[in-house]
Symmetry: C2
């Protein structure tokens, strides 16, 4: 915490600690956490092999430091946009579209920015890694805000029962993650047909898809008793 929470100031990147953070971010994003060795990071950052332990204490702590450095901005923007949704709705239920834009927008903009794209990849990779330690880092970084989002989402979609909400949230997260990382599967299949869209246009596409998904009529199912 403390200084680590500040966004990176490029003017400071001559300092050892910052150089390590940025080198690690680059490599974790390209190779994944598990496949990146501290040696490779230290070579990329041009520091000696003891620096990471001196400054951070180890590999996992270094990853946490990267999250500490980056999550603040995205979460703050999301909070602020959700505030606006609530304010605009007054006593009424918030608008689904506005909630989705508040949740996806900061993430998509980050994924398309030069400074944010590496961290965006790291978030996506860690969130599906089987290693519980990595999952926990993602959890700690994002879940408080996600809970607020879901509370508002429930009010915007009162027609959805708990189980339908559960599975649609999977679809929502999956859609967001695949769009954020532009997972190479589709490029294999279509070629790069992304169309050179801006961040706001991509956001539009994502929101349109997910909004329609949440608005789809819910299947009537015989209710199972809850225990």
């Amino acid at each position: 915490m403390s200084a680590a929470l500040q966004p990176v100031d490029p003017a400071n990147d001559t300092q050892t600690r910052q150089r390590i953070l940025l080198a690690a971010e680059r490599l974790f994003a390209r190779l994944g956490y598990g496949a990146t060795s501290l040696r490779a990071i230290m070579a990329e950052a041009n520091v000696n092999t003891a620096s990471v332990h001196y400054y951070f204490g180890g590999k996992a702590a270094l990853l946490r430091a990267i999250f500490d450095m980056r999550v603040g901005a995205t979460n703050a923007e999301r909070e602020q946009l959700l505030d606006e949704c609530e304010r605009a709705a007054g006593k009424r239920a918030p608008q689904l579209r506005g909630l989705l834009e508040a949740f996806f927008g900061p993430a998509i903009r980050m994924s398309r920015s030069a400074e944010g794209q590496d961290f965006n990849q790291i978030t996506a990779l860690c969130s599906v890694d089987p290693d519980p330690e990595l999952r926990k880092i993602v959890h700690d970084a994002y879940d408080q805000l996600a809970r607020r989002f879901i509370t508002l989402l429930r009010r915007a979609c009162p027609q959805l029962d708990e189980s339908t909400l559960y599975w649609r949230l999977h679809c929502m997260y999956g859609s967001m993650m695949y769009v954020r990382t532009q997972n190479g599967r589709v490029d294999y299949l279509l070629g790069d047909a992304s169309g050179g869209l801006t961040a706001e246009e991509i956001l539009d596409e994502l929101v349109a898809f997910v909004e329609a998904g949440f608005l789809a009529p819910a299947k009537a199912r015989p209710r199972k008793k809850s225990r």
Copy 2:
């Protein structure tokens, strides 16, 4: 190829080769490919430390052998269901819902079956791994069929321009993958609210969401010139 393409016969699992395949499948699914050592596999399978190299030639070849063993059934079922979609449509465009059920159904059923769930996880993990070798294995296993699916999808959704199709396919793949693996994010947030649905009910939820997403009106955008 050849014998490796047959589904596993549990009665044969006394044989060394089969024991290795099943142990590796279990561990790759739980820990991921990169985090699983051959030593751990060989301990789990109760074979000596040279067997994997003798039977498969190495770690990557072992993973390929698992894919060879498993992909046949899912792909065959998908092909057959797509055949039925085309037959039912005759000269008209195929139905979107039928295509989605043909594409998702075999995967969802596999993900909920005792024999298929480990391989399902492996597919999901490898398809987002940054290692190009793993991505290529997924590519080789699934992309021929995916191309056929997309060709039919285009006919079912003629209103979608290429760029919109590109981004919606990301949403589709993301939704399918997150539902298949039941990514733990949502369980953190909601608790397990999955509702104990059957495979067919989960398929219904997924298809409803994605169908609505594909049917959402496409944004009119100023057309960029293609080069």
